[in-house]
Symmetry: C2
């Protein structure tokens, strides 16, 4: 087992990474759990792992609540359903929530934990590659609004994260690849050596090689934890973690979260950010090509889906949280391993990138 | 003008107290406001003071949103209405919310500020005595749930509080008195000299004497700020601020927030807490009598309303946030000016107090 420490003063917490951790969680979480525990999971994951987790935590007073699976259920309605259930079961302020599932379960459970009785303890048990390398680290919690993704939320840290590599065995290949998008992101923004390692090892990961997966999860979490520790509430450097996300969120919003997986939208977004970085004279064309190549190796899309128009995309980007004083802040690359946040992009350059990624053009 | 500083490290903020501050707010808030400003008010206060506030802030890009007046609108629905409006108007993460109104407007606006795009800046402009002395200090934000008051919320500090004594001129007498309940509370829990001062000055306050009101607001805020600075998220000493509130919230929940004003419910709750403190041998009978006397001088109720049953009250108290490991924590008094938090109360003693305050008994 690998253990990482996210350093956030009194909000610091450990991340445990390894195969078979679920069975060992009572020991790993002994000093974190309160007597009352509510496990929140979804209709896909609960049949696979809920009983196992419950058996492993036999010493506690356990409750569970199952939500529907999918980004379109990451809503205020699902959020209030969970709150109502907590109140019905009379869970008090000294309870612990456990999020057993992917990014949606983690984000919504984290927001419940942040706001139920003004804040209760919670543990993340991420069951997708994407959640293990991204959404379980850094304390961003949220639900979506019809007018924008993650528009309602809070910064709220878990008390521990338990990333069991073993549960990825049941993850569909398309979702595994979507998680690789965030893994590749850490290479792009912060870690050129890791990017090179991924070029050589992404195939082994896709074949389910546990050691390769554990290395990638640990290195991704370490990269993210380093950035988050410098800037917990995203006043500055943390914004580089959004590489590909301003484009990606706009794609997801334009599709009402129905077609692209989040990681797929981020992959397209990273390909676009690399393209825009070349257009504004920051990134070498060869580096852009390597990024597109690694994304393709990972089985990820690198052009816009055909149900998205350039105008819709531009409009959704203008609503992004990263808009500051009326200007859109974008994460671009100076090189593989080095990201910058800049508002210094002309509208015409941005639209040139969007147009270049429209399916008609890209296939031309 | 008086100015107080609430000391919470990087979340510290000033409270300005005085007559006519509304007209001067552009100067007072100059370093706090972002370009985009959304004023949130209610149907009672907006016709009286919204234009005045807007004129005083003529240098900003102003929006406003008016919610219905009353505790029963402090709901998730109203909360999401405000969020939707913010998104429709395209307010970005660097906006500022201003809460212009009483405790409900402050609590709900604060929760919006805490969670819109994971947190934006906000300013409190409390327009009731209760909000000036209590809900604008300490960072508790919340909305109600059908199963309990303030069950959804966050700790989130404003960037400044502007308590204009002048706006209390239009406050109905019953609401002014309800605010006195919280003022009296500070005397009871933390400040025996202030309690004695109130015995002599509560009449002057009710006659609208601005100097007496300013002294009481400033001393109340100072008392609260002192306690909050020691314990921002209520892990310990801050709980003494809940004197009368466990009883009070149960009364409000039992009445679906329709009959008693919050301050009136707290007044009854304080009278009951004093009674229970005598029953468990902590408080002298004479001190209980002085507390009941001051509450009556302030025009506040000291017995339960007739539409509440002892069983309902007991049941709602068992749901309170202050329940810890299955035991109800109550704030009791050892003396006027000295509160303690204790779980050391027998069920029979608690029920004896509840029964003693039922209207039939109390009038017997």
């Amino acid at each position: 087992m690998k253990a990482l420490h996210v350093d956030l003063a009194e909000r610091s917490y450990p991340i445990y990474i390894g195969k078979g951790l679920l069975a060992d969680c009572q020991r790993l979480l002994a000093d974190k759990l309160n007597t009352q525990v509510m496990i929140i999971s979804n209709t896909t994951i609960a049949p696979l792992y809920l009983d196992q987790l419950k058996q492993a935590l036999s010493g506690y007073h356990l409750h569970s609540f199952i939500i529907a699976d999918g980004e379109k259920y990451k809503t205020v309605d699902t959020y209030t359903d969970i709150i109502t259930e907590l109140l019905h079961r009379r869970l008090h302020r000294q309870c612990t929530l456990i999020a057993l599932g992917g990014g949606v379960v983690g984000d919504i459970s984290g927001f419940v934990a942040a706001t139920y009785q003004r804040g209760v303890g919670y543990i993340q048990v991420p069951t997708t590659l994407l959640a293990q390398v991204d959404s379980s680290v850094g304390g961003k919690t949220a639900v979506n609004h019809a007018l924008g993704k993650n528009m309602i939320g809070a910064f709220y840290q878990p008390q521990a994260v338990l990333a069991d590599i073993g549960v990825l065995d049941t993850l569909p290949g398309r979702e595994f690849n979507a998680g690789l998008a965030e893994v590749i992101k850490y290479g792009c923004i912060n870690d050129a050596d890791f990017f090179a390692w991924l070029m050589d090892n992404v195939a082994a990961m896709q074949q389910g090689e546990p050691e390769a997966i554990a290395v990638a999860v640990e290195r991704s979490c370490r990269n993210k934890a380093e950035v988050v520790a410098q800037d917990e509430t995203e006043r500055g450097v943390r914004a580089i973690l959004n590489l590909g996300h301003t484009f990606g969120h706009a794609i997801e919003t334009a599709q009402a979260y129905q077609d692209c997986l989040h990681g797929e939208a981020v992959a397209i977004g990273m390909a676009m950010a690399a393209d825009l970085s070349v257009r504004v004279g920051r990134l070498a064309e060869a580096d852009k090509e390597r990024i597109h190549q690694l994304l393709r190796l990972a089985g990820l899309p690198v052009q816009l889906p055909c149900n998205v128009t350039a105008a819709t995309l531009g409009s959704h980007m203008a609503m992004d949280k990263k808009v500051k004083d009326g200007r859109l802040n974008l994460v671009l690359l100076d090189a593989i391993g080095h990201a910058v946040v800049t508002a210094d992009v002309a509208e015409s350059q941005l639209m040139a990138t969007i147009n270049a990624f429209m399916p008609s053009r890209a296939s031309a």
